[in-house]
Amino acid sequence: MLSRTADHLFWMARYTERAENTARMLDVHVQTALLPQSTDDAEQGWRAVLGISELLYGYNQKYDKLTQKDVIDFMVRDPNNPSSIASCLRQARENARAVRGALTTEAWEIQNATWIKMQSYLQTNALEQNPSEFFEWVKHRSHLSRGVTIGTMLEDEAFHFIRLGTFLERADNTARIIDVKFHGAKETPSQKQNGQSQSQTQSQSQSARDEVGQIDFYYWAAILRSVSGFEIYRKVYRDVITPERVAELLILRADMPRSLAACMGNVLSNLHHVRNDVSADTERFAGKLHADLKFARIEEILEAGLHDYLTVFLERIFELGNRISRDFLVPLAA
């Protein structure tokens, strides 16, 4: 298929997935903001949300203070923020429109209808009145988009590039969601409780075996919920929530659909389907990343430091995205 077509499909899927995960992340923080906490803690929470999405600078350009209302406005509506949900859904639709012929009618109509509905949604104050309901809607539209892809499209190259975009973006976003807790200069709840600084995650992992503080419990539970992992956690571990196990579930469990391991497994198999004469190195690169997850133990990761581990992972995902682009999507002139 045309490289440009593949590029549009890939990014259509990435933007759709990014909108979904932004909604998930914001929803978690709206939920945790309901817990009793100091103004400082609340502010730190929102700062971390912006920081992990690399949007703190853009936010500070526009606003003086950190408030939930402004952060949500910035992350949902702001047309000048390229990562806002509105921007993502618009770009998903623009990419789809550029290659609507490569999609089934239903797949295109879902993208188009989402964009149309979003515009009317944002003209009301429904978002302010009930942000969770809006985030839920964004998630559902993403589910629909994915479902209609799987349910109606021929499993040809177009399909695999869409799937590739979905899983690469999800790997990135899940890593960021896990990392929020460790992001930013100020201490996170459990670190404060244990009087630790960020670099000392090793002893934190040991304390993980101890009973987790109440705030921490809610925090990790919210993280789990944000990736639809709360019930899964209960099913898999049948035990209290510990940060260690949450990390294991979201990073290493191959059967947890939003885990890094699952995402990378899917990236790899879709890459395999579209391989060409020059993509062997990229496949090897992805394979290594997948193998590292497949054969890792959570203890090792935590010993080395979760934040550092996730930072390196995000760098590798970024590099993989560049390689896919170079091999398939924006090839140099022959």
Binding site: M1, A6, A98, N112, A113, I116, E157, D277, F328, A333
Partner: protein, 475 residues
């Protein structure tokens, strides 16, 4: 108000002494049985569907980048079998002659030598492409896809308004309008025997494959678009999808050793036939406009070498130019030795002295058009214009007489149409699409455009026109 031929009713203008024409009888009885609520609901539904499906066109100028719906009217334009048969024969004849004309002027120029068309009309025409002189194209076909604009003034009295031989658009609306009518009012289709149109993409693909360069047995066909911000982008994407071929932009193609390739995820792939929806000027920055980012460097060279087919060919504009239009009936006689079946609108060529003085003396009665204009821009409809507009236009014509032609204001037929105040007669035209390859083929139908403003004769969507489904009855 003057009386115009009404597609649906015969007799007087008032509702008492008019009668439903026979081929509209079934529809009229159906319509009278529908409640206003049902109709209102169906009309709202069609808007919603068009928007969801994204059948929109981009508007140039103000509000650039916005997408608009072309208003769709649910009262069909119905043509009975005998009338269509005549139209079809006339269209086939006309397009055949036009293709022969283009071939001739880029080769021996017999029609010029015979003194039928003055040489300066062709060789000083900006649409004449020197690059095409003595270039041979497959089957000698240049205008593979023609969208001929036809209007009706009376019973059996059709006129060709324009032969669009460059990149005529609108066929996707012909197809989508039919789909919409079948979706909204399936019962109408059981009550009428309406010629189907949905096989148009198959005919088109067949046609495109049939003009592949010699020796290519399984040609790769692509549709080439200027991109998603072009006003007709929906149609480009639609046709590519319906034919199951790639929709490419200039940046997706490159030329190496006179062969055209597209960049794919599995490396370069050879392209044999390009159905291009982009004007000559933008095709190849090396040959035409150097600032064009839409084209493909080296494309003309590859084309002249016979390694790729362009549809339509380069240089067809010389035949649908308004200054050449008056000669089309002569072409039919000259190349085919037949009498033209379809009428031309009498045309005054302002480059001729006596025509110019007639035009200037009668501006308020005439339609004056720019020779190279299109899309309803740059024209004067005398009877519908203010004194000031007429005087402004007079100055333009005097300044550059050879840039204009004038035609009598035709009493274009009208058809009942839903407007804000209810159902009212509105003027319309018809654009059937004629395909030329190994044979000349067409589907029975076309795009009917309707001027929604009362009294307006301008049907272009860019000027606020709407569309209707077009039914050719098979019995």
């Amino acid at each position: 108000m003057a009386h115009f031929f009404d597609e649906m009713y015969s007799g007087g203008a008032s509702s008492e002494d008019r009668q439903v024409r026979q081929h509209y009888a079934e529809f009229a009885s159906w319509l009278s049985a529908q409640s206003p609520e049902t109709i209102a609901r169906k009309r709202a539904e069609s808007d919603l569907i068009f928007r969801r499906v994204g059948i929109t066109f981009a508007v140039y100028g103000n509000d650039a980048g916005t997408e608009r719906l072309i208003p769709f009217d649910i009262i069909p334009r119905i043509i009975h079998k005998a009338e269509w048969a005549k139209l079809e024969a006339g269209l086939v004849q006309r397009v055949k002659a036009l293709n022969m004309f283009i071939h001739d002027i880029y080769h021996e120029q017999k029609i010029v030598k015979a003194g039928i068309i003055p040489p300066e009309q062709i060789f000083q025409n900006a649409q004449y492409r020197r690059e095409m002189q003595d270039v041979n194209v497959v089957n000698d076909i240049y205008a593979h896809i023609a969208g001929v604009d036809i209007v009706r003034a009376g019973e059996g009295e059709f006129y060709v308004l324009e032969d669009n031989l460059r990149v005529p658009s609108g066929v996707s609306y012909m197809l989508e309008n039919r789909k919409m009518m079948m979706r909204l009012f399936p019962d109408l289709f059981t009550r009428h025997k309406i010629a189907p149109v949905d096989h148009y993409p198959d005919l088109l693909l067949d046609n495109l494959r049939s003009v592949a360069p010699a020796g290519v047995t399984d040609p790769t066909v692509v549709v080439m678009t200027p991109g998603m911000y072009n006003s007709a982008y929906f149609e480009h994407a639609f046709l590519a999808q319906q034919m199951g071929v790639e929709l490419v932009e200039g940046q997706d193609l490159f030329v190496k050793d006179n062969v055209v390739y597209m960049r794919t995820t599995r490396g370069p792939k050879r392209v044999d036939v390009i159905y291009r929806r982009i004007d000559d000027d933008f095709l190849d920055p090396l040959a035409f406009r150097p600032d064009s980012a839409l084209g493909v460097p080296g494309l003309l060279q590859a084309y002249r070498a016979g390694k790729v087919t362009l549809t339509n060919a380069i240089g067809t504009g010389v035949a649908d130019d308004k200054s050449i239009y008056p000669y089309v009936p002569d072409m039919v006689r000259f190349y085919l030795s037949e009498d033209p079946i379809l009428n031309n609108v009498p045309t005054y060529q302002c480059r001729k002295k006596e025509d110019l003085s007639y035009t200037l003396a009668n501006l308020e009665k005439l339609v004056v058009k720019e020779v190279h204009g299109a899309g309803g821009y740059g024209m004067l409809v005398g009877p519908a214009s203010t004194k000031q507009e007429i005087e402004d236009f007079r100055a333009r014509v005097i300044a550059k007489p050879d840039g204009y032609i004038a035609q009598p204001t035709l009493a274009l037929s009208v058809c009942p149409t839903y407007v804000e105040s209810g159902i009212a007669p509105r003027h319309l035209d018809l654009r059937p699409f004629v395909l030329s390859g190994k044979q000349v083929t067409m589907v029975k139908g076309g795009l009917t455009r309707v001027a929604l403003k009362e009294g307006s004769l301008v049907v272009n969507s860019s000027q606020g026109g709407g569309t209707k489904d077009t039914w050719i009855l098979e019995k």
